[in-house]
């Protein structure tokens, strides 16, 4: 079966991103396809490479990046939500005249249409949030 996953909260503050990760991993292990993981609202904050969580805790962003690399996952950060919250890639940096960017490996920034498409193309869209 083909799944899409929606993550609406940032890492650590809420369990949403943890639950989404474990769900995605379990779906892959069962042989299902993950069409896309879409990060919206504060969920875009999962996509920063500048975090350094304590060493005795999980690294939520690195975990997503590693899963994406291993399974060729499409991790999409909503551009509008990301602009509000300061998650940007090299293109966005140039477009808005910023002096740095912070997007993590394996994540890409794109439009909300990618969420609608995720709903259309997948058999199930599962939402995690607060």
């Amino acid at each position: 079966m083909k799944f899409s996953v929606l993550v609406n909260e940032g890492p650590y503050q809420h369990e949403a991103s943890d639950s989404a990760y474990h769900f995605t991993k379990a779906a892959l292990e069962k042989g299902h396809e993950i069409f896309r993981v879409f990060f919206y609202h504060d969920g875009v904050n999962n996509g920063t490479r500048l975090a350094t969580p304590p060493q005795d805790d999980r690294n939520i962003t690195q975990r997503w990046s590693a899963l994406a690399e291993q399974h060729n996952l499409d991790l999409v950060v909503c551009v509008a939500a990301a602009q509000r919250r300061g998650i940007i890639d090299a293109d966005e940096m140039k477009r808005h005249g910023k002096d740095a960017n912070n997007i993590a490996p394996g994540f890409r920034i794109s439009g909300l249409g990618q969420l609608i498409e995720a709903g259309i193309q997948a058999d199930r869209l599962i939402t995690f949030g607060d």
Partner: protein
């Protein structure tokens, strides 16, 4: 609503038409869910899907007339609900119990909506392909 559109394709859905239900359950302004949910609805309109919006629980407060954000300096996005029709988003529903429990009447609402009973909402939900709840 933003320069979002420049990043969008034209809403290709490969001819598939699904039933999308947006369930709005949060009060506006205290959190951003109501505003950002509306952004999804507007972008989604380009995809020519079968879209319904349901206002449930505190979500009915989103439709309250007369929102005035001058003192909080937040963005008043309530006029957008009136613009939904131009985007061919015409199926707006609200839960009767939620409206009544909150001391509202249909006269309080910024757009006309179809007010549904509990059983009608159960049926509405059961007919969907995709339910997005914010």
């Amino acid at each position: 609503m933003t320069d979002e559109t420049m990043l969008e394709e034209d809403g290709h859905s490969g001819g598939v038409v699904k039933k999308f239900l947006y369930v709005n359950r949060r009060a506006p302004y205290g959190s951003i869910y109501a505003l950002e949910s509306l952004e999804v609805v507007l972008i989604g309109a380009a995809f020519e899907q079968d879209v319904s919006l349901l206002f449930l629980d505190d979500g009915v407060f989103q439709l309250k007339k007369g929102q005035d954000t001058a003192m909080t300096d937040m963005k008043n996005f309530s006029p957008t609900y009136r613009a939904l029709e131009m985007y061919d988003v015409e199926k707006l529903y609200a839960d009767r119990e939620s409206i009544e429990q909150r001391g509202l009447t249909e006269d309080d609402l910024i757009v006309p909506v179809e007010v549904l009973s509990r059983d009608e909402i159960k049926d509405l939900m059961a007919q969907q392909d995709v339910v997005l709840s914010f």
